[in-house]
């Protein structure tokens, strides 16, 4: 398999926007008290302006990577650098959460404006900016609606507008389309591609969908189940903009898809904590542990 640009890895890391090196993170379990390793010695770097998908089976600490990069939690060991510095949450980074996390008692307009509180924009500018991005995701008619009145797809568009509204240089997206129906998801993926084409942020996109990972990203990072580590990084190498052709029909897409599928299947089958644990199933391309 033609894996990541291993020759230029060092050079890329030097100019990378996001660098995680040797990062470990454990969480206290509520009921047992013993900590669970979410990430172990994770290395990853994302060049500026790149769209990187983090792909892995459920519960491999993908979300933890995003929370570390946003600076919401500190690493137990190792270092996380964003633009050369320890990360601090704020409007420079947009976060799209899996369960939307809209404020139920605030209107769509107020929800988007809330993301602009620390931008230094004045009240009028905040309102204008929010309105612009609400219109961009096609929800201008619902600006004064409450989240409870919107469908799942519409809520996700509000969450997208909120993340884009502060015009962040980094976007962190945590399985943003996992909880919406298949048709809406396809449309939202195109919507995201178009937004990204207009506003070229560095994107970390967590997903467990192989198709989605390839379709959106410049590079796919494959992660192992708990404790999460990077197993492989693969350049997608398909031209942008991708909504203008049938990406699924390209030989490259088909090749990547079947490779990543079998890699994930092997990961799950060889993971003792998985429901499908079956170590004897002669996996062809088992990653070395």
């Amino acid at each position: 398999m033609t894996s990541g640009s291993s020759s230029g890895e060092a050079a890329a890391a030097a100019s990378a926007k996001i660098v995680l090196s040797g990062v470990s993170k454990a969480f206290e379990r509520r009921n047992s008290g013993t900590p669970t390793m979410a990430l172990q010695h994770l290395d990853m770097s994302v060049p500026e302006g790149h769209f990187v998908s983090i792909l892995g089976p459920s519960g491999c600490g993908k979300t933890t990577v995003l929370r570390l990069v946003d600076g919401l939690v500190p690493p137990d060991s190792g270092s996380v650098l964003v633009a050369g510095q320890a990360p601090r949450p704020g409007p420079e980074m947009g976060f799209v959460f899996q369960a939307f996390r809209l404020i139920p008692w605030a209107t769509v307009q107020a929800n988007v404006e809330f993301a602009l509180t620390a931008t230094g924009l004045n009240k009028h500018e905040r309102a204008e900016r929010a309105a612009h991005y609400i219109a961009l995701v096609g929800l201008q008619r619902f600006a004064q609606s409450y989240p409870g009145e919107l469908s799942g797809g519409m809520k996700q568009r509000v969450a997208l507008a909120r993340a884009f509204a502060s015009e962040p240089s980094i976007l962190l997206m945590d399985e943003p389309f996992a909880s919406i129906d298949a048709q809406t998801r396809e449309l939202m993926q195109v919507e995201l591609m178009k937004l990204w084409a207009q506003h070229r942020a560095t994107v970390l996109f967590v997903t467990h969908s192989v198709d989605e990972a390839i379709m959106l990203a410049d590079r796919v990072v494959l992660m192992s189940p708990r404790p999460g580590r990077v197993i492989e990084e693969i350049e997608v190498g398909l031209p942008h903009p991708r909504w203008q052709y049938d990406i699924r029909a390209t030989p490259r897409f088909i090749e990547l898809r079947s490779y990543l599928w079998s890699a994930i299947r092997d990961l799950v089958l060889n993971d003792p904590s998985s429901d499908f644990y079956a170590p004897t199933s002669g996996a062809a391309s088992t990653p070395a542990d």
Binding site: D70, L72, R88, P89, G90, P91, M93, F95, F97, A99, R101, I103, P104, W105, A106, F114, A115, L116, T117, A118, Y146, P147, G148, E149, S166
Partner: protein, 246 residues
């Protein structure tokens, strides 16, 4: 439609009351008509208005004082968790005990007048509001707080935009429970301290078997209860407009 049914049910209750009054001996239950006449008389000689005024002052004073103490304390307990965890066991203990037990002590310190009455009402109203406010803050969605942190909202902003609004429905539940107990304690206070107000009239008419007048007071108390709880329901509708029934 429901309003009509409610009205019809009221008629049914009055008829039931009337039938019972006809069948109970010795005027223990006055007829609706006799009660109405008694109400007219009580209104005309001003006794009812004076008593109502006394009771409302006691009720509103103690209830307002309870709210003024309970909401800030509940918020502080919820926001500063060590404070909350330290105090909660005492709060629950106090809430669980019959606070009527304090009345002799209150009389010793505050006498038999309004201060004692208002304090008795306060003691009843404060606990449900406090406990529900505290629970409301604890129930705040931690994911929303993390979202707010991710956009670098300040502590005050997180409190004002996330924590407080999320506690509002709980606080309103507390206000409703508090209002009920405050009304009960108003009557209790008027029975146990200087006999005044609606509770005082209740005692006087009850002890002298003037049942028509006694019933007037009972009905007035019921009406106060309805007005207060409907008012709070209205407030709830206004404050939690965002809750859609889906």
């Amino acid at each position: 439609m429901i309003a009509l049914y409610r009205f019809l049910f009221l008629i049914f209750l009055i008829v039931l009351w009337w039938v019972i009054s006809l069948n109970v001996r010795a005027n223990f239950i006055p007829s609706p008509w006799a009660t109405l006449l008694a109400a007219q008389k009580l209104l005309a000689d001003g006794k009812l208005i004076v008593a109502l005024g006394d009771s409302l002052i006691t009720f509103a004073g103690g209830y307002a004082l309870g709210i003024l103490v309970a909401i800030p304390v509940g918020l502080v307990m919820g926001v500063f968790l060590p404070v909350g965890k330290t105090l909660e066991i005492y709060v629950y203990a106090l809430a669980a005990m019959p606070r009527v037990a304090f009345i002799p002590l209150i009389i010793v310190f505050l006498g038999l007048g309004f201060p004692a009455k208002i304090f008795i009402v306060f003691l009843g109203a404060v606990m449900p509001v406090l406990i529900n406010t505290y629970a409301g803050v604890l129930a705040v969605d931690q994911e929303l707080i993390e979202m707010a942190r991710s956009v670098r909202a300040g502590r005050m902003q997180i409190f004002a935009r996330i924590v407080l609004p999320s506690a509002v429905p709980f606080i309103i539940v507390g206000l409703r429970l508090g209002a009920t107990i405050a009304l009960i304690n108003t009557v209790v206070a008027e029975l146990y301290t200087a006999v005044r107000g609606l509770g005082g009239l209740l005692a006087i008419y009850g002890n002298t078997f003037r049942m028509a007048e006694y019933f007037v007071i009972v009905i007035v108390l019921a009406i106060i209860g309805v007005i207060v709880s409907e008012g709070l329901r209205h407030l709830e509708k206004r404050l939690v407009r965002w809750k859609t029934s889906d």
